[in-house]
């Protein structure tokens, strides 16, 4: 211990500084997560939330044995992948626009708009989206008003489309923010050089700007996948309980059926999928940076 204290050197209160934080995270982060793992491996026992140390794999067998559950896992992952792709297509241009806006005032305004959209409570944003996209919502009423549609409304909400739009709205700021810094960091002389060598604007964009911003693209994709994969509130409100994803199953098993062990098992599966995606990301990131990570 004294060797450790010596190693941290002059500002020797280093370890003491970290003590409350370490203590807090150990008790309220590590212990709960470990017990969640243990509980997922426990014998199913309805209404009982404490670990009984009776290990079996019944919860996982049930998860992977029933289409209701494993299909929800596939649906959740597919949905998150689709949302990540759409978010990239919409988010990259916005990040590019912000990065290329040299006027300080306009740049700051755009950044503040994106940050506000990100930090505003998602349930409030969903209120707005639902008022826009409902059967008698503003979009349908507008289309009816100008005569594009008749009495039959466009089915925008309470279905898969609604969930996708909601999740893209939710995760777009995260994509934009992970791209802006990277695009701004690209040395402009590279783009200028390509241009002066005769490359057209689009060629420069695809051959220089996009490849150079790959680390940001990958980080954004990972982040968007993680947050849209784990969202509970967007699928419940925008999907009208028709798009059943893993977080909905967790809530139902635990809050409505009292099946704590099975709920914990679903949570572990979610955790595992997130972890897997993270590993894929790290491989991709290492490749993008030429193995320098």
């Amino acid at each position: 211990m004294s060797a450790f204290l010596q190693r941290i050197g002059k500002p020797g209160r280093g370890a003491l500084l970290a003590a409350p934080g370490v203590f807090f995270f150990a008790i309220f982060f590590v212990v709960p997560l470990v017990s969640l793992f243990l509980l997922s491996l426990d014998k199913p026992s309805i209404g009982n939330a404490s670990v009984q140390w009776m290990f079996d794999f019944r919860n996982f067998e049930r998860f992977f044995g029933r289409a209701l559950y494993y299909e929800a896992a596939i649906r959740s992952a597919g949905l998150a992948a689709l949302v990540s792709a759409i978010t990239l297509v919409l988010g990259y241009p916005l990040a590019f626009l912000i990065a290329k806006t040299t006027n300080v005032r306009r740049n700051t305004t755009l950044m503040i708009l994106v940050l506000c959209a990100m930090q505003l409570d998602m349930v409030i944003r969903l209120f707005g989206l639902m008022v826009l996209m409902g059967d008698v919502g503003i979009i349908n009423e507008f289309l009816r008003w100008i005569g594009i549609i008749g009495d039959e409304p466009l089915p925008l909400m309470y279905n898969f489309t609604g969930v996708v739009v909601g999740l893209v709205q939710f995760s777009l700021p995260f994509m934009v923010l992970s791209l802006v810094g990277v695009i701004q960091g690209i040395n402009p002389s590279l783009e200028e050089a390509a241009r002066s060598l005769g490359a057209r604007r689009w060629q420069t964009f695809w051959k220089i700007t996009v490849p150079m911003s790959m680390p940001g693209i990958l980080a954004g994709l990972l982040l968007v996948f993680a947050i849209s994969f784990s969202s509970y509130v967007v699928p419940t409100l925008m999907g009208g309980w028709k798009v059943v994803v893993l977080p909905i199953h967790i809530f139902q098993q635990v809050a409505e059926l009292g099946k704590w062990q099975f709920g914990a098992a679903i949570a572990v599966v979610m955790f595992a999928i997130s972890f897997l995606v993270m590993l894929i990301y790290q491989r991709a990131a290492a490749q993008a940076s030429g193995g320098r990570i």
């Binding site: 190693r7 941290i8 002059k10 500002p11 209160r13 280093g14 500084l17 970290a18 409350p20 807090f24 309220f28 982060f29 709960p32 997560l33 017990s35 969640l36 509980l39 939330a49 404490s50 670990v51 297509v89 919409l90 241009p93 916005l94 626009l97 290329k100 950044m111 708009l113 940050l115 506000c116 930090q119 505003l120 409570d121 998602m122 409030i124 944003r125 969903l126 209120f127 707005g128 989206l129 008022v131 826009l132 409902g134 739009v165 709205q169 995260f174 923010l177 810094g181 783009e191 604007r201 993680a226 994969f229 509970y232 509130v233 977080p247 635990v254 914990a264 979610m270 955790f271 997130s274």
Partner: protein, 277 residues
């Protein structure tokens, strides 16, 4: 020269298709927010197209509401308490990380950032289970809820304070100490002024993240008092009350003010990288 000038200017111009997509993205981001404001200020029973007219009727209804006003105030208290604890814990962790070198430091850093990557509902469930089985009396209580919120907001403070500490010259502290200043005095006179923008930005972030937190609160909310997101969610499942939109207006106001404060204090681009480092 004029030619080169022109080519550089053209280079900075954003192609039309990209501009179009960027504008679509901005509309998608902001339209729901605008709709909430209009819905809260409209004079009809619900927001229609074309809109009827403006009135403060729903804002007044919000102040008389026994569902949304208490929820708003509860969220406010929750966010302030969370902010105070997160700021203290996060700042001390960031200071520790910035000035100690040991093997596996990156791992430790990633560990403190982990609550950001963990699905909120999984963290909420894990805490709920822990409270139930540990008998600490935290099940569906305010302290239990605060703990969950501190876990998801602490990383923001760690990130912003850490960013403020990058490039901080520790020899300044050593100089102060060698001139006879006590540790606390050194901290207040040398370290604090350097990191205070980071601390304030981190506290603003933890306040606003806690105020808008839904997933973690889901399993931890006390039965008799709901935070605003949970109260709004319960009402949104059945109807679109303009009173809820009026509550939303006050939440939007809080967010805008907070972000303006952060923008004044820090380089926004630095903040963008905080989440992911």
């Amino acid at each position: 020269m004029a030619l080169a000038d022109k080519s550089i200017r053209r280079e900075a111009a954003v192609p039309f298709v990209l501009k179009l997509l960027a504008i679509m993205a901005l509309i998608l981001l902001l339209a729901p927010v605008v709709v909430v404001i209009l819905a809260g200020l409209n004079s009809g029973d619900h927001l229609t197209f074309p809109p009827k007219g403006l009135s403060l009727r729903w804002v007044i209804a919000f102040f008389q509401s026994d569902a949304f006003l208490p929820a708003y105030l509860f969220s406010l208290v929750l966010a302030v308490v969370t902010m105070i604890i997160s700021t203290i814990l996060g700042t001390s962790i960031a200071l520790f990380l910035a000035r100690t070198e040991f093997r596996g430091k990156q791992m430790v850093r990633a560990f403190f950032m982990a609550p950001l990557m963990l699905p909120g509902i999984v963290l909420g469930l894990a805490l709920y289970l822990f409270y139930l089985s540990s008998g600490l009396g935290l099940v569906r209580t305010m302290p239990g809820l605060v703990i969950g919120h501190v876990l998801v907001t602490c990383p923001y403070v760690i990130g912003t304070v850490n960013a403020a500490l990058v490039g901080f010259d520790t020899t300044l502290e050593e100089a102060a100490r060698s001139l006879g200043a006590k540790p606390l005095k050194t901290f207040r006179a040398i370290t604090l002024p350097v990191i205070s923008p980071g601390i304030i930005a981190g506290s603003v972030f933890s306040f606003i993240v806690s105020f808008g937190q839904f997933d973690v609160s889901l399993f931890l909310t006390p039965p008799d008092s709901n935070p605003l997101p949970i109260a709004l969610y319960s009402s949104l499942r059945y109807t679109f009350e303009p009173t809820a939109a009026a509550a939303g207006i006050f939440a939007i106001f809080l967010v805008v003010v907070s972000m303006l404060i952060t923008a004044k204090l820090t380089n926004l681009r630095q903040l963008a990288n905080v989440n992911f480092s």
